[in-house]
Symmetry: C2
Subunit: 381 residues, 2 copies
Amino acid sequence: MVIIMQNKLKDNSVGIVLPKTVEIKYGLQLDCGKNLENFSLTYETYGELNSKKDNAILICHALSGDHHAAGYHSVADKKPGWWDSCIGPGKPFDTNKFFVVSLNNLGGCKGSTGPNTVDKKTGNEFGPDFPIITVNDWVNSQKLLADYLEIDTWACVAGGSLGGMQALQWAISYPSKIKNSIVVASAAKLSAQNIAFNEVARQAIITDPDFHDGRYNNFGVVPKRGLSIARMLGHITYLSDDSMRQKFGRDLREGKLHFGYDVDFQVESYLRYQAQAFVERFDANTYLLMTKALDYFDPAKEYNGDLSIAFENTQSRFLVVSFTSDWRFSSSKSHEIVKSLVKARKNVSYSEIESNNGHDAFLMPIPNYLGVLKNFIDNIL
Amino acid sequence: MVIIMQNKLKDNSVGIVLPKTVEIKYGLQLDCGKNLENFSLTYETYGELNSKKDNAILICHALSGDHHAAGYHSVADKKPGWWDSCIGPGKPFDTNKFFVVSLNNLGGCKGSTGPNTVDKKTGNEFGPDFPIITVNDWVNSQKLLADYLEIDTWACVAGGSLGGMQALQWAISYPSKIKNSIVVASAAKLSAQNIAFNEVARQAIITDPDFHDGRYNNFGVVPKRGLSIARMLGHITYLSDDSMRQKFGRDLREGKLHFGYDVDFQVESYLRYQAQAFVERFDANTYLLMTKALDYFDPAKEYNGDLSIAFENTQSRFLVVSFTSDWRFSSSKSHEIVKSLVKARKNVSYSEIESNNGHDAFLMPIPNYLGVLKNFIDNIL
């Protein structure tokens, strides 16, 4: 244990971290029309805020992520936070230099106010009554977190996938409060195919008899069948055809076909295992809500579909990154962002990273990717 | 009504057709080790068998297809058979010249012996006790149908997707009984990603509480939730990202977002409608069985993965066709077939058709595609 602890604390890890929770007592007007009178946000911080308070970086999570982006929660912890390869001493988000903030978004299921927390007005769990939250709502809630932390301006807001959408929205919503925006493996809007995959996942959850219109906790069950299907499907779209071939090929789990519906191929076993693990750690109502936030994001919509006009008032520098084998958020989606930023005469760098890891690449320690991030971030301060 | 009937009977339609069913009284040894003592096959024929009996073409169907490949079942019928654009007078499979046979495969749910038919031994419906059938088993059952029809040698065996696998297997299993093999939008084996999609579909069906271990008919229900999810997922993979963009874009069904889980986008409405229609016409046990036939197909497996050795004894000419936007059975899968045929010094033509219709393109009346088929087939006799 001592050795493990030493390993975690030395080198380039932020070490053991503890989440904090803040109650935000300002009302938040949501895009759906509802108003949240107050809410809690759970977050972690890595590094120190300097005296000028100009070294703060906000990390935004994706569909199934949370506030635990780096380090470990205990010495027994086997896995670090989800972006540990990028956050730590000497890493791209260098905690020797920056004060990094990572939160569980509103509507999440890891401490922040969401479907699985209690509505103080009613004394009952929100469940399906929790409002649908948009990327814009998240950014507004994150602004209130920044105010609480006395951070006037973010040196940078960064995220991958759904997190990248938040980094984009920050630049649009609060142009003077963000100096740099890092948008990785993301999109300015989902395609019909993306929405279709999300809809299949939602239907799997909603039609599970254990869903009980979202009040499953009242019945002492969870819609694990539906959530499993949603997660299995998600996994296929996070990996590339090529990476699945390399990882599993057509390898049989027991060396022979069974002529039945038990596991024949390794890839089937992998998907079932991943789904099982996910069901134990994630809330179905939150999953539904996150997919809707993805589907609804479309900042160009109110500008007749012209994204460059949506970017017109932005003041930040932008780094856009995509991965060659990512077919869920393909490079063409990043190109759309970059072209619109260029059209709006904004400062944008773009890098397409060679990788066969599909959408999951944004979580991987790919040297070129880390290098691109580091180069950009090193020039922030 | 008279006008409709005239339209259906004139031009290049085979007109009104009636399915036939034959009971095959020969035992069929299956790859799973079981033996079927006798079984029925439902089929349709279009055109006339000539006196030399050398003008017969076998059409093999895909996952959710059946024997009804061309023409109409009644004057009230709104939709023709699934390959009507290719089969008829003057069409690529020209019924003025050829005798075209199309069957519902063993294990299907449209008349042939399968999970939803009665096991004569027990007097009960087969249900989940129906054995897993392979592409090789189908070809053997089709050989018995050929014997019954007194067709010694097929002028051609043709099919798309899972149907193309049967056309390939015919050339391997009965080299002297097939003159030409047409393999459209198919593969010599599925990739891990393909298997993964099939596994998600199977899990959706099997974990539906109304599945009842496959004995749902005994309970007066069908696993419609699971079968719907399977079909929705299938549809996404049959279309291309591009065709979905053109067909639906991000169009809203009612012009506004609902901030709930009812239908917002047109693509969601389309998927739900398609799923509903499918559940009413298709059997869940058959769906499971068809996906396993796809997963298991791998003729190179017994030759150490060398497909060219599997093709060594084939005598037929081959036409292989793929479509540029088909990502479920991408052109690279057809290239694998073509390269192996070339390596085995076989007579093969290959055409990659420009199309944005995804995998579904093989069912579409794309002029270049029909032209390629027609050129090849016109030279058969």
